[in-house]
């Protein structure tokens, strides 16, 4: 296999790593306002006298209770979300190094959309870092809004962008000196096609289901029960959306391999929904992880051998035309071979360190709050 193809595969791996890991922390962010309320005194833990007596007395809509639930959910992703996001930075850097023309065309072409994504990611990250730094309720509420909105908008935009690459963008050939290159030739509006929007929506709902599985896996008590219920609804919705999306894309761009992988993605999602229904949370989470990975693979299969598909009669940006020199690709390959296992090693170890399930009882007094 040639180096260009290897780097195309490695980029698929990086996008998979990004969407599988940050996918669940996006999902957890989306679920903050959904799972922060108990079922009240008539249902759930409140109905069980034993459970009720072991908890602090509370009202169903007690703001403190809501806050402690949100903190519990955020703590499940606390040690991980920052590292999860590095996958995106690595994918960006690797595209720059391995396919400079891809990097240049994609990021200058999707200028305003990328601007929105950057702003949203900045505010979401700041929210995750700063929300607990002051006890002021208004402060917490605003940063929570940034986390929640960011968790919805970011995967939506990423989904739109990736779907655009596959579905096709308006492109033209340019000649600068002796350099011929393919440049994006459209506006923000040309990114907002029905298929691309569907791609954004599907990824968002898929992340929601994925995040719900993660929460169910990482918590105990009421949050776990409620997360499982949400996961089923989100799982079924994302399955319907994914079938339409992969079908629409596949009819236009599909190959035998991409259809098979897309089919496997659908099966993995159905298995995840079934596992969740049976309460097998680990398997359900593995299921949505596989779904995301297989979807990325099927996207990349529909893209190959291009970096960006041209829309209609537009020229494609081929991988060969976008790629770096063989020397750079060789150096990068060695770096990836040596350092990726090390990075995966300590990342997995972090998940092992923070493996225990959390519940509202585990939350300390907000230690960072100034008194």
């Amino acid at each position: 296999m040639d180096l260009v193809t290897i780097w195309f595969i490695l980029l698929a791996v990086l996008w998979t790593g990004y969407l599988v890991t940050e996918g669940f922390d996006f999902g957890v962010g989306m679920l903050l306002p959904v799972l922060d309320r108990g079922r009240g005194p008539t249902g759930g833990a409140g109905a069980d006298p034993e459970a009720a007596s072991s908890q602090r007395p509370r009202a169903a809509w007690d703001p403190d209770e809501r806050d402690v639930r949100r903190r519990t959910m955020l703590t499940t992703i606390g040690p991980h979300w920052d590292g999860n996001e590095v996958w995106l930075l690595t994918a960006g850097g690797a595209t720059f190094a391995a396919f400079p023309h891809w990097y240049a065309t994609m990021f200058s072409g999707m200028y305003l959309a990328l601007l929105v994504l950057l702003v949203v990611l900045i505010l979401r990250n700041m929210g995750l870092e700063y929300r607990h730094k002051r006890p002021d309720r208004e402060w917490v509420r605003r940063w929570d809004l940034a986390i929640i909105a960011g968790s919805f908008i970011a995967p939506f935009l990423v989904g739109v962008a990736l779907t655009n690459l596959v579905d096709g963008l308006p492109m033209t050939e340019h000649l600068a000196g002796s350099t011929q290159y393919t440049e994006f030739d459209g506006s923000l509006l040309s990114l907002l096609t029905p298929v691309a929007l569907l791609g954004g929506l599907t990824l968002t709902v898929l992340c929601l289901a994925h995040g719900a599985h993660f929460l169910a896996l990482k918590t105990t008590g009421e949050i776990r029960e409620q997360a499982r219920e949400v996961a089923t609804k989100a799982g079924v919705t994302s399955a319907l959306l994914a079938v339409v999306l992969l079908g629409a894309l596949g009819l236009q761009r599909g190959t035998a391999a991409s259809w098979v992988v897309a089919g496997l993605a659908a099966l993995a999602l159905l298995a995840a929904i079934a596992a969740n229904a049976k309460g097998a949370e680990g398997r359900a989470f593995t299921g949505t992880s596989l779904t995301i990975a297989l979807t990325v693979i099927s996207y990349f299969l529909m893209l190959f051998p291009n970096a960006i598909n041209g829309r209609g009669s537009s020229p494609d940006l081929t991988l060969a035309a976008a790629a770096s020199s063989p020397l750079t690709l060789t150096i990068m390959t060695w770096a990836a071979v040596v350092f990726t296992p090390i990075m995966l090693g300590y990342t997995v170890w972090t998940y092992w360190v923070f493996r225990r399930r959390l519940s509202v009882e585990h939350m300390p007094q907000s230690v960072d709050a100034p008194t």
Partner: protein, 496 residues
Amino acid sequence: MDVLELARWQFAITTVYHFFFVPITIGLSAIVAWYHTRWVRTRNEDHLRMAKFLGKLFTINFALGLVTGIVQEFQFGMNWSSYSRFVGDIFGAPLALEALLAFFLESTFLGLWIFGWGRIPERLHAATMWIVHIGTVLSAYFILAANSFMQNPVGYRINAETGRAEMADFLAVLTNKVQLTAFPHVITACYMVGGALVLAVGLHKMRQSTRLLQDAQAATAEPGTTAAGPDHHADRRMYRHAARLGAVVTLVAGLGVIISGDLQGKVMTEVQPMKMAAAEALYETPPEGQCAPFSVLTVAGLGGEDPTHVIEVPCLLSFMGTGSWDGEVQGMTELENEYRARFGDGELTGAETYIPPIAMSYWNFRLMMGAGFFAMAVAAWALVATRANRVPMARWVGPLLVATPLATVFGHSFGWIFTEMGRQPWVVFGEMATHTAVSPSVGSADVWTSMIVFTLLYGGLAVVEVKLLLDYIRRGAEPFETPRLVEDDEPLEFAY
């Protein structure tokens, strides 16, 4: 303003802003790690308290450094797509390695440090902050290697067929001689920032504890009252240690900055003589046998005519540039002629002259050095003023403590502005002109939008960050608690 100018402004704004946080991240992580390790070794309670206290200031700052770094990575593709196409083969590799080797390390191990209290064994826990620190330093190495390529392109060849620069020797890119002096210069300057910050916070809290101690003593002097609450004696001892540690770090690092800066000046004179000439506003090469002086203060004449130097040190520029008191330093006029002969009359660069903005170069160079010397002077004073348990209580010390860390942070900015301005009109020295580097497909309305958005967002975040930092400094270190591993059903030692 056209797209080029806007894109340059945006790059300047986002980069200078990003670089407010980077040196703090690098310098402070080392000091936090040092305190944490000292606690593990000596069981000195003060050291654990300081590790946690400074660690909080660190995480507040790290957050902003990280998010503004994301913008940096994507900005090359957004605003400088022609540049990305031209040098991606060389420039992209260090960037990708930075993410793979450094960012994962920093983010993952910072997560472990923040949430690891009571969950991982203490030696390992202290080690996580050292790993974070190593990550920050690695990150600096790769990004500076990329920047050094722009100052002094090495290890590449131009592919005539594709019209792009291609990698010929990656090791040469990583061991660029500009890089080998710039890296120690920047890193030691980052330690100065960390040192100055800890010095200022320590001294400020030490003065505060002293005042509280005096109040408490006055209160207990009256009959019927007893001293209760926090132990101001212990606090003062702890903060004094921090102040002195910060001062020592600032001084030692400052020495490193001077030595590496001296070496860097010589490399710069060799590979970018125009930058050195602009830094001194030296128009004419001194006649054979005469050395070049260094001016400390100039009142006029940075606009094109020979400047009026008010204070001048004879032969110093020759020494700074060449290592010899009578070494030759070329003036801008001669270099301009040389460059015209070599690169043509500006057809390539689109600029009227190869001379970079002189006043910017001249003043940023001096402000950079002045800021560093100022911080070192304050550090030396602080060591004297806190000897034998003395506490400098004078009123004028307050503003000084605000100015010192700011001076070190701004010193970095002045240095960067000087380095990047002095490279003009090139984006890659001798190879690619700045005006050819912008994205051809991006309109000025787009760049205006993003510049306004980032400027407003960054401004707002700066206010939030400074307020938070001040909040946490005001609160000071938490009281000591014996750390222990938490059982499964207990509340966590730390969570959101």
